[in-house]
């Protein structure tokens, strides 16, 4: 039988209905997201007397702090997301095997994800404390380091700390997303390869990885964009310090706006950050055809 599609547009009151159903969300995101983004643009191009100026951008683009923050943000996002994806992929492969208590392990995997980032950062701040926190001492007792390291008071170690905390929290989440991708691969493909005598590495390289590429790319993109806006973790764990060693873009905006009361520089930094995000989104958009934006879940 031919499926007959009713064109809803011919119904009475169609446009009123559409507007009525969609208008609440439109109002919300216009007032609370689009307006602030645009208002920042206006602020960043004006001075205290509200006349137009390029000075705010001149200040941040010719200063060191903004570029330093950009570099820290890019480094943080790239390193932590790459680590999360690789460890997460291994975890997903393990979770895709059948073993007793698999469901329980999946539940445990949700715990780090559900922990509020700010609370988790408080926890890690304790774990990494020099004199009574366990992690520096465990590293020392395992003879990995010569003396318990000062995680939060040395620039390089502080940067490592935020990556460690972020990786810890997000690996299980990535693993669960990748697991959904793994489960979408039909089992008979593996069986067919086994009949042909393929080893596990061959199957991984020639079957799992190519078929997982869309899932990997999508997860990577989403995590990267998320990591790019990191705030809670840094603000609580290191406060952007020591010095400016972990001052990513979001905390930098916050610091300029609310600690230094330099609203217009803050707005200019926010605009630049928005431009970065938009650039990333456009890149993803243009390449979506090549990676396949959607794939089946079940």
């Amino acid at each position: 039988m031919l499926k007959r599609e009713i064109n809803p547009r011919h119904e009475k009151g169609y446009y009123v209905a559409v507007i009525g159903f969609v208008i609440p969300i439109v109002i919300f995101f216009t007032v609370f997201q689009i307006y602030p983004l645009l208002k920042n643009v206006q602020l960043s191009f004006s001075n205290i007397k509200n006349s137009p100026t390029l000075n705010n951008f001149k200040v941040i683009l010719f200063g060191r702090s903004f570029w330093q923050s950009t570099w820290i943000t890019v480094r943080f996002s790239l390193i932590s997301v790459s680590l999360e994806m690789s460890i997460g992929f291994i975890f997903a492969l393990l979770l895709n095997q059948s073993f007793r208590g698999r469901k329980a392990v999946r539940t445990i995997f949700l715990i780090p994800w559900a922990l509020p980032t700010a609370i988790m950062a408080v926890g890690w701040k304790f774990l990494l404390q020099h004199s009574y926190g366990p992690i520096p001492w465990i590293l020392y007792w395992l003879h990995i380091v010569k003396s318990p390291p000062y995680f939060l008071s040395m620039p390089r170690m502080a940067f490592a700390s935020i990556i460690i905390a972020d990786v810890w929290k997000t690996v299980p989440f990535c693993a669960l997303l990748l697991l959904a991708g793994l489960q979408a691969i039909p089992k008979d493909l593996y069986e067919a390869m086994e009949v042909d005598g393929a080893g596990w590495f061959f199957k991984l390289r020639r079957l799992t990885l190519p078929l997982m590429l869309p899932a990997i790319t999508v997860t990577f993109t989403f995590r990267f964009l998320q990591a790019f806006g990191v705030f809670d973790l840094i603000w609580v764990l290191t406060g952007g310090g020591p010095g400016n060693a972990t001052m990513a873009l979001s905390p930098f905006i916050y610091q300029q706006t609310f600690n230094w009361l330099n609203i217009r520089s803050g707005a200019a930094t926010a605009v630049m950050t928005s431009i970065y995000i938009m650039g990333l989104v456009i890149v993803v958009w243009l390449t979506r055809r090549h990676v396949g934006r959607r794939y089946a879940i079940q």
């Binding site: 159903f21 969609v22 307006y35 073993f99 926010a270």
Partner: protein
């Protein structure tokens, strides 16, 4: 042999997820002199509940929990309602720009809160809404729209259009069809999204930090992470960590009750949205 390595890997994964939590639980039950011993003692040797009692007495944890609960529940209820309306319009009324709207929402969701925070702060300040629950509820609603609409759209698509059309033929208005047919059928999806939205609101930090300047209006994330001792070296770690664990407990309970829902919602939301 293969099984052995598999279980070794599984053991490592469990260890990976839980070892920080073990140390935190350990510390929260230790009396101060043990907790501050250096080097730390990695196994339980003394037990006290004083941190858990202290966190309620000294740190206003009850207030923070009440604030967080009220804000998160209100925001979740509102975003579910308006998100479901939109998802219904997208899947069942099917208007021209619905795909554009979905993609637009997706992109909007990528902008970090820090890029919008000052104009919002100014807006709420001029409306005298700082230190008012509304200053958190309203932006939280907005923040959760992309996830809500995306996940609900995915699920509502699976409800046959014939049901909606039949309801319409029977003389129901669109809104009646929405709450008498689509919503009851979509309850599993709605509850999944409710959980995800609630967790997102419960965990939010930057807006709560900025808009709630009075101590008694703080939410749990800000309340706990902004605790400091009378002097910087007198950081009351035991109590802070006891508080941190306590406010995570509701989330852990939610996870244990609804893990299947959360995972299905996460994968639908994160992969398609």
């Amino acid at each position: 042999m293969k099984r052995f390595f598999l279980y070794l890997g599984v053991a490592f994964m469990i260890f990976y997820c839980l070892f920080p939590i073990y140390f935190l639980i350990l510390d929260s039950f230790e009396p101060t002199n043990v907790a501050y011993s250096s080097p730390p003692i990695l196994y339980p040797i003394a037990f006290t509940l004083s941190n858990y009692i202290g966190v309620f007495k000294d740190l206003h944890l009850t207030t923070y929990i009440m604030n967080s609960t009220f804000v998160s529940l209100s925001a979740t209820a509102i975003v579910l309602f308006i998100g479901a309306l939109a998802a219904f319009a997208i899947t069942k009324i099917r208007f021209i720009a619905s795909n554009t709207l979905l993609n637009f929402l997706l992109i909007l969701g990528f902008f970090p809160a820090a890029t919008m925070i000052f104009p919002l702060y100014k807006m709420f300040a001029s409306l005298r809404l700082l230190n008012n629950y509304l200053s958190l509820i309203l932006p939280y609603v907005s923040m959760n729209i992309p996830l809500t609409v995306w996940v609900l759209t995915t699920y509502f698509e699976q409800i046959p259009n014939e049901l909606y059309e039949a309801a319409r033929v029977d003389g129901m208005s669109r809104f009646q069809a929405f709450y008498k047919v689509i919503v009851p059928l979509g309850i599993p999806a709605v509850s999944t999204v409710a959980i995800l939205d609630f967790i997102a609101c419960w965990n939010e930090f930057i807006l709560a930090l900025t808009f709630m300047t009075k101590k008694n209006m703080r939410t749990i994330t800000v309340g706990i992470s902004m605790i400091s001792g009378r002097f910087s070296y007198q950081y009351p770690w035991g109590e802070i960590i006891a508080g941190a664990l306590l406010v995570t407990l509701p989330l852990v309970i939610i996870i244990f009750v609804a893990q299947e829902k959360i995972i299905s919602g996460l994968t639908a939301g994160a992969i398609k949205g």
